[in-house]
Symmetry: C2
Subunit: 182 residues, 2 copies
DNA sequence: TTCATTTAGTTAGCCGGCTAACTAAATGAA
DNA sequence: TTCATTTAGTTAGCCGGCTAACTAAATGAA
């Protein structure tokens, strides 16, 4: 069975009804648009992750291979990779252990600092990266194939705008912690 | 420390260089735009999930409360909830067990079909839902606050277009399974 | 009426995230 | 030079996803 994220999506009417019931003066458009955004991402990402998985990779593992490929001596520290990828140390620890088992990276204790392990891209890792990369390029190209140059520009603009607004949600959360709970 | 998803993003130049190296005739724009899309979603979603977590909920738990609220007798079967939410049976099984422990739902074996458990929204569950809902509306409103009506319409249009293109990635994967592996 | 098939749900175990708590090593101020 | 502090990494255990394999009950064709 093929699962579709969030099958039962509320209609604008239902969103409006609920808002009225709660005496909220809001437009249902924004809620609906946020759901559209989430759905679009999740459906696209599901197919993208599935493509990546065909190569025995995950998106994170692929990006780690890219980081190593571009690093000096094709080598980085776990903490550097964690920072670049934007994940915590325990997460990178698990990912690298898995990639080492796959033979995509190798790691050795550093001589200069014995707390540290140098993570090295293996030839197998580089080979897999080169095999997958064309598919990665193609997937993005296909995804935006039907977009005009103007539409692509618009989309980038709207995404930037959205990204800037994310702090407002954080602000809302802080307001709740300060006042809302009482 | 505040983590930022995927800190080290490749520049268009780097994307172009790699494409040249692989002799791929692709524009780096699409790859870059896909990364923008992923980043925007993940950053927004991170803050949204954090807001939801302030109410001892996750997005999935919140949506389940909504389904139950709108259901006849405020009651559904696990399999119905799984279908509406678009997740597998094991996932819903875990979620509902957690929500029952929180006291948000209760469940009882059905008389008519003994394989089945009726999941019921509790008064505590409904109360929490009513507390959180205004924040949910506000978060979406804030997110799109700076969008003009036209921009919202454009965004919805572009997201629909993107959603339609997701099948091309699946097609690419099928092509790989058939031909690419040889 | 029986028995193979279907349906509903759970359990085990994996992945990629997280936090909390830990060990080991390096650092730097007194 | 010492020792508190910082830094690097791991382990345990949680969450929300998944697949595979299972049990129990309902169903429907012979």
């Amino acid at each position: 069975m093929s699962y579709y994220n969030f099958v039962d999506r509320p209609s604008k009417q239902r969103i409006q009804e609920m808002a009225d019931q709660l005496h909220l003066k809001v437009s249902p458009d924004a809620v609906h648009l946020f759901l559209d955004f989430q759905l679009a991402y999740r459906e696209v990402e599901k197919n993208y992750e599935s493509l990546v998985a065909s190569f025995d990779l995950s998106e994170s593992r692929f990006i780690i291979l890219m980081f190593l490929y571009y690093a000096e001596d094709k080598q980085l520290l776990p903490s550097e990779i964690a920072h670049k990828l934007g994940v915590t140390k325990p997460t990178i620890s698990k990912l690298l252990r898995g990639m080492a088992q796959q033979g995509l990276v190798s790691s050795h204790q550093s001589q200069s600092d014995k707390r540290v392990r140098d993570v090295q891209l293996t030839t197998a890792g580089e080979k897999l990266l080169r095999t997958f990369l064309p598919y990665n390029y193609r997937s993005s190209s296909l995804l935006f194939e039907d977009f005009t140059a103007e539409e692509k520009q618009q989309f980038a603009h709207l995404l930037r705008k959205l990204l800037k607004s994310k702090d407002k949600i954080q602000q809302l959360e802080e307001d709740y912690h300060e006042h809302g709970k009482n």
